[in-house]
Amino acid sequence: MSKLKEALDSGAFAAVAELQPPKGVRVEGMLALVAALQDRVTAFGVPDNEQARMRLSALAVSRLAQEAGGEPLWHLTCRDRNRLALESELLGAAALGIENVLVVSGDYVTLGDHPDAKPVYDADSVQLLQIARDLAAGRDSAGLTLDGAPNFFLGAVVIPEAEPLAPQLLKFEKKVKAGAQFFVTPPVFDLERLRAFRQSLAANPVKLLATVKVLSLEEAAQADTEEWRQVFRVPLEFLSELKDLEGEEFSRRAAELAGGLLKRIKAENLAEGAYLKAGGRVDLINLVLKAAGL
């Protein structure tokens, strides 16, 4: 049984720390994070070629994290696989004891480090949720019966800050209909939109993990420019708190600010849990948790 599901169902505030799969096979550092944090967080997020940049297989990392004592939240992107690969990997994950799956469309290939790669998108995220749900019900997307059905705790992404919001909300409803049991937001810096989204959710039984991110120096510098194409917004007041800071001082302050946000999210009941992104650094995640009083 998924600890993440248990935590979200029980109303305990869940914390998921994101791992950073290496570009290569050196996994010690990443696994040290699992060992250091396994008692402090509920699960470990494992991105799948995040931002279309090739990294060590998310499924392999999920298994390694599990062996190191952590519970993985495996991301699965539609960008890199056709439906045969998506389904067989889902079965593979289940066979390895991985239950938590976060289904994502995936950033487009031209935005990543292999811009000439063939983008797949055989299924979109709504259809992939349906596929996973069908697998759990004992049949594949072609309608054929499985010999032993997997069990998943299915998540998807929702973007409360989307502009315009209406089409995003329609897609969110489709994801709920297709079987998503929990949702993860992009990094939140301004709680206003999250509050509004939370209120509109009243009738929905879905669980929400708000992403809290420790900004890096480069991201903070970019957030101020026109080129900024991330799906989250960083308010100017937030950036001004980080102004003129450099190196470790910057990271520590960014982690404290993230911790402050997390504290407010929890206090206002804006989410059932948090998804923490800190570039795979133990010390920063510890700082965030400490600042949030978790």
């Binding site: 487009y108 998108y121 299924a123 979109d124 995220s125 297709a178 799906v231």
Partner: protein, 228 residues
């Protein structure tokens, strides 16, 4: 119509470098409309080839013919008489035309002068945009007349992806998000319920290449009724 772009001259010149008698064959349909392979462009390429050869002290014999449609045997068959006089053929048609012609004149080397880009529309003179991927499974009826397969780079069928920002596409922010466009169109028409239904997985089987279509009225002639 089919939109194409002319290949760089250096590529064409390198391909036909061994030959002295060259026939350039234009096509008077799509590629003529998008200004890359019609009669005028045949003349320009012929002139360029002759000038470039002259600069190297060579003399080329360059023939120029433009047919109505290169993708139709009916229009290219009469060319058989002329082709014998040339060492090679440069076709300025789309990929379909080049192959049709190549099949007809299978003894002659044939070289394409254009890169076939997409099926698209004429925005204004010299400005074209893609609109159809020929997926053989049209969704336009439920997507407000805007194609998600083509206009969304990811071909998503159930709404905008997470990268949509201010109604713009993450892949190229100059483009609007296809799914936002679909939303607004359906909203304006009072048909948002079309957006709410989940579209199932796309039947890619319908697009197994090479595709083939037999018009129902001709099924008997081509023996297709035996399979059906």
């Amino acid at each position: 119509m089919i939109i194409a772009e002319r290949k760089p001259f250096a590529e064409i010149a390198a391909a036909v470098a061994p030959y002295e008698k060259i026939l350039i064959l234009g096509c008077g349909t799509c590629v003529a409309v998008c200004l890359v392979g019609g009669e005028k462009e045949v003349g320009l390429l012929a002139s360029q080839l002759k000038l470039a050869a002259g600069l190297r002290g060579r003399h080329l014999e360059v023939g120029e013919i433009t047919v109505e449609r290169q993708c139709d045997l009916e229009f290219i068959q009469p060319l058989c008489d002329f082709i014998a006089d040339y060492d090679c053929i440069i076709s300025m048609a789309c990929g379909a035309g080049v192959q049709d012609l190549g099949q007809l004149c299978y003894m002659k080397p044939i070289f394409p002068a254009v890169n076939t880009s997409f099926i698209g529309v004429n925005l204004e003179a010299g400005h074209y945009a893609e609109r159809c991927l020929a997926c053989n499974h049209c969704y336009l009826g439920v997507t407000g007349g805007i194609c998600p397969v083509t206009m969304c780079p990811k071909g998503l069928l159930n709404g905008p992806c997470g990268g949509m920002f201010n109604g713009r596409c993450e892949v190229n922010p100059e483009n609007t998000c296809a799914w936002c466009d679909i939303f607004y169109r359906l909203e304006r028409q009072g048909r948002l319920e079309q957006f709410q239904g989940i579209l199932p997985l796309h039947p890619y089987q319908k697009r197994t290449t090479p595709g083939k279509v037999i018009h129902p009225a001709y099924k008997r002639r081509y023996g297709a009724h035996e399979q059906a």
